[in-house]
Symmetry: C2
Subunit: 387 residues, 2 copies
């Protein structure tokens, strides 16, 4: 079975920076040139700029974005995997913000781990692939007898310090995606079977994997013994899930191969409305959502479909992504509907948390959307249009 | 040839309002109940609420949106026609705001003209169809010999007054879409031929059509002799155009069949970058756009496609809709690119006008967007995501 991989590790571009260094010393400028308005440094890099204080600026070199060394690993168009990928990547950035403040650090796509490295790591260990992080093939084909693939994806993010216009690696984040279900075929193009992995086994294998990756990262050029490394463990959602997976634990290594205590994130994603087999942790949220759903779905003579994803920390809802699909017959219907949904969202949906509402027509085209950021009272709304 | 039609005319729902009337008098409330926060009136209607002061509230009756009586006429999924439809419908709302202020009037989808009425009007006049607004079939098949179809679409919008929680028709807008090119087949499923219509002929036929529609509207139940009627004339864009058509003239009828002076809107839509055959009215805007385009297109190792639509009034740009398409390899690339585009838009694109920027991945999915409203300095940005 081909493994989904995502991995990008970033490295202090030592040579580039050395070259940039002399340039910098001649200009003699101090201060954070990368963060000024035009975000142009004379030392070979620029940043993307940022739209809010809670976003990272990204690194641009010679007018081009510094893409990941492992760019394209794990890219998928398969709908059942794309949500895991989105949850994984944006969750990793969110967790990193707590460790590496966007006010201090500049974000760089992973530059340490290259594409081949990551692909080898995600494969099974074997004579030909000694760096494989997944267990050796034991020759068994049955779901409960074979060695499952535990590690599904790996992604590196680099957090850079800016000293006088020169970037240096300030910290690393490494995300590790672990399977609870390993999908495999007994023969090529054959039926798909599933090896189940218990929560306990996943956590245990995750820690073993994290320790191995940490010691490998410490040996990478540009990573010092005391570069802080945030390790974030992600539980992949099953392929038939309507939400992506969640990060279940994090740990920080401040130096060497030492890993601080693992901290449970207690994060989990759920779908609304609740189903017979899976309810959300807090009944009040379900009631709120159903009130909203009822208010919306009969707006037009034709029904509107209303679903949502919610992220919980323990029993507390952290945010919602609402999706509404209906058939529109004119641009004015879209405008009126969007306003109506804004009103219903204000009235029914939980307050004090970030909420996005995306409104699509029956053919899947995004027609409008609403968004309330963390701590804001009102929804921003936008109707897509053309001249 | 089947005609594209769009037409919705709205009528004072006399019976509903009469019924609502007695209800209203018992509550004895005065004031603008429809515009309070919960936007619930005790007289049988609610409104959608509105997200900004410059938007209309729409009418809801018995919990359902009051859809157009001609709902579904002219609906198309054909890409080459959808832009004309969007330009027509949203342009009609924009023009109406000058005549019928959103602070005073509530928007209602057209309730006067029903689906059959509109379809008959848009067809050729004949013994079977005496109300047809297009000329009789003269039996000729050649492009320059046949009578072309001048009138392409019609849409009614109703602007309602709220008196003590009761709605009454305060004004009407009627949009009339006129062809410069009439596409037709000589035989079913045959090749498409085009009859060209000169600008002068279109304007002349448009005025004749407007006068006929006006006198018919005055006879509709609920329209009084002095109901103000805004007539807006739209020139359809050719099917191969990358922008929709534009409204070229408006007139107001304050009473009876009188039409005030026709006013040229001097509006026209253009695409950026300019092409060999069609440049924009102001070279500076093209230079600005090209600066923006150059800044963006090389951001990733793979190219980004950057195009835009601009609306002009004479030689002055009124607003832009920018579309950017590129291939993304991760969520972090989308985040960084969005910030970079925001910075480039601030730097390069014309200031002081509303600008939307939509960023799509190669498969056409909207990944993020930026929007600066009229008079605002900064771009709002949003990256679409899921849990």
């Amino acid at each position: 079975m081909k493994k989904q991989l995502t991995l990008c590790i970033s490295l202090v571009m030592s040579l580039v920076l050395l070259a940039a260094c002399s340039n910098s010393s001649t200009t003699g400028t101090r201060g954070n040139t990368a963060k000024t308005t035009d975000t142009t440094s004379k030392t070979g890099y620029q940043t993307t700029g940022k739209t809010t204080d809670t976003d990272y600026q990204g690194v641009i070199r010679d007018g081009k974005y510094q893409t990941s060394k492992a760019r394209g690993v794990g890219i998928t168009q398969e709908a059942d995997k794309i949500m895991n990928l989105q949850s994984f990547e944006s969750g990793l950035t969110t967790l990193s913000k707590k460790q590496f403040s966007p006010k201090k650090y500049v974000f760089q796509e992973g530059q340490l781990l290259g594409r081949d490295t990551v692909e080898n790591w995600l494969d099974r260990v074997s004579k030909d692939n000694p760096t494989g992080l997944n267990p050796a093939d034991n020759g068994k084909k049955e779901a409960d007898e074979r060695n499952p693939m535990y590690v599904q994806q790996i992604e590196e993010q680099d957090y850079m310090n800016d000293h006088n216009g020169k970037l240096s690696l300030g910290g690393l984040t490494i995300g590790i995606g672990m399977n609870r279900k390993d999908y495999y075929q007994k023969e090529q193009y054959g039926a798909t079977y599933i090896s189940d992995i218990s929560k306990e086994e996943m956590v245990k294998q995750g820690r073993i994997t994290a320790a191995k990756i940490l010691s490998r990262l410490r040996k990478e050029k540009g990573v010092s013994n005391d570069t802080p490394i945030l390790i974030a463990m992600f539980e992949q959602a099953p392929n038939d899930s309507l939400v992506g997976g969640s990060f279940y634990a994090t740990a920080v290594s401040k130096s060497g191969n030492e890993i601080s205590n693992w901290t449970d994130t207690n994060l989990a994603s759920y779908t609304f409305p609740a189903t017979a087999t899976k309810s959300v942790p807090n009944d009040n949220d379900e009631t709120s959502f159903e009130g909203f759903q009822n208010k919306i779905k009969n707006f037009f003579p034709n029904l509107a479909g209303v679903t949502a994803q919610g992220q919980y920390k323990n029993k507390t809802l952290q945010g919602m992504k609402v999706n509404i699909t209906t058939q529109f017959y004119s641009q004015t219907e879209i405008m009126s509907f969007t306003q109506y949904v804004a009103q219903a969202a204000r009235t029914y949906l939980p307050t004090g948390i970030p909420i996005d509402v995306t409104i699509k027509s029956a053919d899947g085209t995004v027609q409008s959307f609403l968004s309330r950021e963390d701590g804001k009272g009102d929804f921003y709304s936008h109707v897509f249009n053309s001249y």
